[in-house]
C-alpha cells in the first residue's frame, strides 16, 4: 500500500509557500481557470471532468478549418524511455490535425530531447529552421534572447495567459515579451520498490524523508542485497541529469544562482556554496564511498535505469508518473521467469514525494516544453505560414491535446486541461498521478536565462563527473563549475 502524507506535505510551511509564490509570480496575474492556491490531489480530482471543450471549433476561430497552407514543424517527440501509450497519443494528434486541417500540408519531424537543441541551433545558422518548433523548457529564453523567435502569446491562439502556469510563462518570456506557449509542465516524484526495502530491513511503505536518508537507505540496500540502492544519473548532454540532481541541490539549500528563491535575480553564482557542496558530497558518498548506486551512472540516463528497476536490481529513483506505464510495457516484453519478476516489481512500485534537505526544504524541477514560431529570415525558404503555425499551436496547447500529449508523463500546459473528461479518466488510469501533481507546488523552473542549456546540460553534469570519477575533489569540482558559470555569464 502506498502511504504518502500528501496533505501535510503540500502545506509544508513557508518553503512551499515561497515556491508556490514563485510559480505564481508571472507577469500577468489574472484569474486563472483553476485555483492554484488550493492545489492538492483532492482539488485536482474535484475539477477533473467539469468542463467540455471543442478543440476544432476553438482553433477554427484562430485559423479557419479550410485554410490552405504549408507548415514545417519540429518537435521534441517521444523517445526510448516513454511508454507506448504516449506514442499512440502522438500518432493520434498528428492524424487528428491532418483531418481537422486537411488543406494544411504538414511536414513534421520528431527529434529526441538530447538531439533537438543541437539540430535546431545548426539549422538556425543556415537559415534552415522549421516554421514552428516545440522545444524543451530550457530552450525558450536562449532562442528568444538571440532574436530568432517571433513574439507569441496565448492570446494569439485564442487562449489567455492566465490559462497557463505562471512559472511556465516565465520560461517563454524574455525582456518582458512573450515568445512562446507552454505545451506541458511537469514535476517528478520519488519511486521505490517496497519489496527491496523490506528485504533490506527498511519500512516498505515509507519513502526516505530526507536526502541524507536516501544516502543511508541506498547503502543499506546495497550492503544487504548487493544491488544498487538509488538510481543516480550523471551523464553529460542528457536532460535527465539536471532533472535528478537539481532537486537534490536545491533541497540542500544550494543552487546554480538564487533560482530557488521567490524572486530570483540570477546575479550570484552559488554552485560552490557550502550547501551546494553538501549536495554534491551526497552524490559522491553514494557513488564513491558507498558504491551503492549503479556504476554506469556516468554514461547512462534514466532510460537505462528503467530496465534495472523492473529487473529488481534498483531500489529507488526519481522519475515521471509515466514510469509505471513504462514498467508495464517492459513487463509485457519480458519472457519466462523475467516476466514474473517484472510483475513482482510492478506490484511493489511505490511513489512518494521527493525527499527534503536537512532544513526541510523540498524541491523538484518544474519542467516541460514550449512551442514557438520562428522569424521568416531563419526559416528555409524565408517564409512562415503563420496561420498554419497558429493552427497547430492552438491544437497542441488546447485543453484537450495539452492533456492528451502529456497523458502519462507530464501535465497539461493549459490549466483548463485539468478540467477535461480526459483528466478524470487519466486520474483513474495512471497510477500515482496524484503524487506527481502534488509535487507541482514544489517545482522550481530552471533559470530563465539564455545560458541555461549549457549550464544544465554540460556544466552541472561535468561537475558531477569530475567529483564522482575522482578527477577533482568535491570542493574543486564545485569551484570549477562555479567558475565556468561565471565565465559563461561574463560572455566567455
Amino acid at each position: 500500500m502506498t502511504r504518502i502524507t500528501l496533505g501535510g506535505a503540500v502545506l509544508r510551511g513557508t518553503v512551499a509557500t515561497a515556491l508556490m509564490a514563485s510559480l505564481m509570480s508571472g507577469s500577468a496575474l489574472g484569474a486563472p481557470p483553476v485555483d492554484l492556491s488550493k492545489w492538492s490531489p483532492e482539488y485536482v480530482r474535484s475539477i477533473a471532468g467539469t468542463q467540455d471543450f471543442d478543440t476544432a471549433a476553438d482553433c477554427g476561430k484562430v485559423t479557419p478549418l479550410d485554410y490552405k497552407g504549408r507548415l514545417t514543424f519540429w518537435y521534441q517527440g517521444v523517445f526510448e524511455g516513454d511508454p507506448d501509450l504516449l506514442r499512440q497519443y502522438y500518432k493520434d494528434f498528428f492524424e487528428t490535425f491532418r483531418k481537422t486541417y486537411p488543406n494544411i500540408q504538414l511536414e513534421d519531424q520528431a527529434l529526441t530531447y538530447n538531439d533537438l537543441l543541437d539540430k535546431f541551433r545548426t539549422a538556425l545558422l543556415g537559415n534552415a529552421a522549421p516554421m514552428a518548433v516545440r522545444l524543451q523548457i530550457l530552450g525558450g529564453t536562449e532562442f528568444a534572447s538571440k532574436g530568432y523567435l517571433e513574439p507569441l502569446k496565448p492570446e494569439d491562439v485564442g487562449y489567455s495567459t492566465e490559462d497557463f502556469w505562471p512559472g511556465a510563462m516565465k520560461a517563454v518570456t524574455w525582456d518582458g515579451v512573450t515568445y512562446g506557449i507552454p505545451t506541458n509542465n511537469e514535476t517528478m516524484a520519488f519511486i521505490w520498490n517496497a519489496d527491496i526495502f523490506k528485504r533490506a530491513g527498511l519500512d516498505p511503505d515509507k519513502a526516505p524523508a530526507t536526502w541524507d536518508d536516501v544516502v543511508k537507505y541506498s547503502k543499506q540496500i546495497h550492503d544487504k542485497l548487493g544491488i544498487a540502492g538509488y538510481g543516480l544519473v550523471a551523464r553529460k548532454n542528457a536532460g535527465n541529469t539536471p532533472y535528478r540532481f537539481m532537486p537534490q541541490l536545491w533541497a540542500y539549500g544550494g543552487g546554480v544562482f538564487d533560482e530557488a528563491t521567490a524572486n530570483p535575480t540570477y546575479e550570484q553564482v552559488e554552485l560552490n556554496t557550502p550547501q551546494s557542496k553538501a549536495a554534491l558530497q551526497a552524490s559522491y558518498d553514494m557513488y564513491v564511498r558507498d558504491k551503492s548506486v549503479p556504476v554506469s551512472a556516468l554514461t547512462n540516463q534514466q532510460a537505462d535505469n528503467q530496465p534495472l528497476f523492473v529487473a529488481g536490481q534498483l531500489g529507488m529513483m526519481i522519475s515521471h508518473p509515466s514510469d509505471y506505464n513504462v514498467m508495464l510495457d517492459l513487463q509485457k516484453k519480458a519472457t519466462g521467469a523475467d516476466k514474473d519478476k517484472a510483475q513482482t516489481v510492478i506490484d511493489n512500485m511505490r511513489y512518494g514525494l521527493i525527499p527534503t534537505g536537512p532544513d526541510g526544504k523540498r524541491a523538484v524541477v518544474f519542467g516541460g516544453s514550449n512551442i514557438h514560431i520562428l522569424k521568416p529570415e531563419y526559416v528555409e525558404g524565408g517564409k512562415v505560414d503563420e496561420p498554419a503555425a497558429k493552427a497547430i499551436i492552438c491544437m497542441w496547447t488546447s485543453p484537450e491535446w495539452s492533456l492528451k500529449m502529456a497523458y502519462a508523463g507530464s501535465n497539461p500546459g493549459n490549466l483548463n486541461g485539468f478540467k477535461t473528461k480526459w483528466m478524470k479518466e487519466r486520474l483513474d488510469n495512471i497510477k500515482f498521478l496524484d503524487v506527481t501533481t502534488s509535487m507541482l507546488p514544489y517545482g522550481i523552473p530552471f533559470p530563465a536565462l539564455p545560458q541555461s542549456p549549457e549550464i544544465m546540460n554540460i556544466i552541472v553534469p561535468d561537475m558531477l563527473q569530475n567529483a564522482l570519477t575522482g578527477a577533482m575533489t568535491v570542493d574543486q569540482a564545485a569551484d570549477d563549475a562555479a567558475k565556468k558559470v561565471k565565465d559563461l555569464m561574463g560572455g566567455l
Partner: protein, 332 residues
Amino acid sequence: MQPVVQNNKGTSQVTTVTGKAEARRRLQPGRSGGLRKIWEHRADYAYVLPAIAVMLIVIAYPIYYTIELSFFKTPPGLQLRDKSFIGFDNYTAILTSEVFWKVTLNTLIWTIASTFFSFVLGFAAALALHREFVGRGVLRAILIIPWVISAVAASYIWKWIYHSDFGIIGAVLVGLGLADRPPNFIDNVSTVLPSLIVVNIWREFPFAMIMMMAGLQTVPDQLLRAAEVDGANAWQRFWHVTFPHLSNVSTVTILLLAVANFNSFIIPWIMTGGGPSNASHIWITHIYELAFGRQRWGVASAYSVLLFLMLMMLGYFYVRALAGNERKEGGA
C-alpha cells in the same frame, strides 16, 4: 583512358597507332605552352568540371568560412552574425588551455593505438585467410561483419557489452568467479579510452584485412616457390619476399586508417559522449561539443583549422605513398 603506360624511365609502351602519336607528343612537353595544353585537354577538363564545382561549393567554401570564423569571437548568448574579430585569440586560448592538451593526448593515443592494432590484426587475419582451408570463405565473411555493420549499432551493442553493472563481459567474469563485481570499463577515467579503442579496432581491422588480402594477391607465387627451393623457411619467405611486396599497400592502409581515426566521432560520442570527466574526448567530439553543445563557434572553428592542417599533412603523405606506388608499378 589513354592507352599509354609510362614507366619510370620516361619512355612509354604503346599498344595502338594513335597511342604512339599521343605518347610522342607527351614526351615533348616543351613544344606546347600551358594554355595550349589546357585547350588540348579541354574535354578532360569538361568531364571534371562538375565535380570541381560541387567540391568548391561543399568543401572549399566551408573550409574558407571555418578559417574566417576562427578569427572571430562568437559569444554563446549572441547570434553568429554578431561575432567580433579577435585575430589569433582563439588559437592562443586553445593552445594555452589544459583541455586542449588533454584532448590532443587522447586523440594521439586513440589514433596511434587504433591504427597500429587494426593494421596488425588485419594483416594477421589476411595472412591466415590467404591460405587454402575448409571454411575459409565463411570465416572471411564473418570477419568482415564488424566493418559492414553500422557504427551506431555497433556502439550501442558494445555499450551493453561493457555495461558497468550488467555487461556481458562482467556477467561472464563474475559467473566464472574471476571477479567479485563487473569490471568498470567505460565509467572510469583510466579505462574508458582503452575500452573505446578496443571497439574501434574491432570495427576497423576488417578494412585492413581486406586491403592486405588484396595486396597478398600481388605477391608472385614463383618467387615464394623459388625461395622455398632455396631453403628459406616460412618466416624468411614472409620477411624477404611477401612483406616487401606489401610495403605500398601497407603504407596506404595505415594512412587511410590514421585519417579515419583522426576523424572518428561515432563510437566515442555514442558510447560516452566524451566522458566521464572528458576522459574519452578526442578532437572531433570536443569540437562537436564546443560548437553544437556550447555554441563557441569561433573556438570550434579554430580547433577545426588545426585539425584540418594535421589531416592535410596526413593527406600529403597519403598522396606521396600513392604516387610512389604508381611509380613502382610503372617500373615493374
